[in-house]
Symmetry: C2
Subunit: 158 residues, 2 copies
Amino acid sequence: MAGLLRLHRERVQPGWIDYNGHLLDAYYLLIFSNNTTTFMEHIGLGAKERAEKGHSLFTLEVHLNYLHEIIVGQETWVDIQLLGHDAKRLHVFYTLYAEDSPQPRATSEQMLTNIDMNLRKSVPFLPEVQARIEAIAREQADLPRPANVGRIIALPRK
Amino acid sequence: MAGLLRLHRERVQPGWIDYNGHLLDAYYLLIFSNNTTTFMEHIGLGAKERAEKGHSLFTLEVHLNYLHEIIVGQETWVDIQLLGHDAKRLHVFYTLYAEDSPQPRATSEQMLTNIDMNLRKSVPFLPEVQARIEAIAREQADLPRPANVGRIIALPRK
């Protein structure tokens, strides 16, 4: 979909497969986490900036929905949508795909926060990072809200 | 707390540490996932039963709250609370601890479903597994509901 960010591709590694013969739940999140790292580069928080400025992102909260299995060797990619932001937080939504199907394999909603790595506490984004975030928010302003946003986990009512 | 299940301990491995110098978000979930494996043994879905009966559990949905950092080498353990169940689903809540502090490091609420691995679809639990689940539910019937159950992810309202 136009406006979504697609920044990173990677293949499912043999060590990520479990006794059920498919990608283990935790490694879906590793793929999402690697996409966060690429997204950080995209907004000016890559390795160089992290070292020079002492800012990084920490994960506060994650929601994952597992939709379809993924097997070893498949290439994956993620569409990134910025759902919201404030002075120090990012609310993001990720949709994971793999190469043999156009159907989403999983979604992840996350809250990330900007950290001063010397103070080890949350602080406002650097001005140049804030500007990049606001530019993405403007580009994505008209995107629809994904269906899995704001879910709670519960058994169906009888 | 009496009634919670504490089944599995493991140490944080060097390969699980990220560029922020602490346990990467995905490896918190790996620790929770390994606890699920031990919980499966506890309810009669260990490796032997999975091979003989062809039943296993798949993860449908996960919610994670990251509360405190964990560093390399620390031993971790998880308290498991069964929040609910039906004929083929388990609604579980995990609280993660590490050895140097009594404070929870993270929580995870999850929905798991029983799978017939030949059909690759969800089916009711085996009777002996259902009986183990119901016994745990009875033992844990008086436990309080953890604070992080049923959360949605959202920025604070201004």
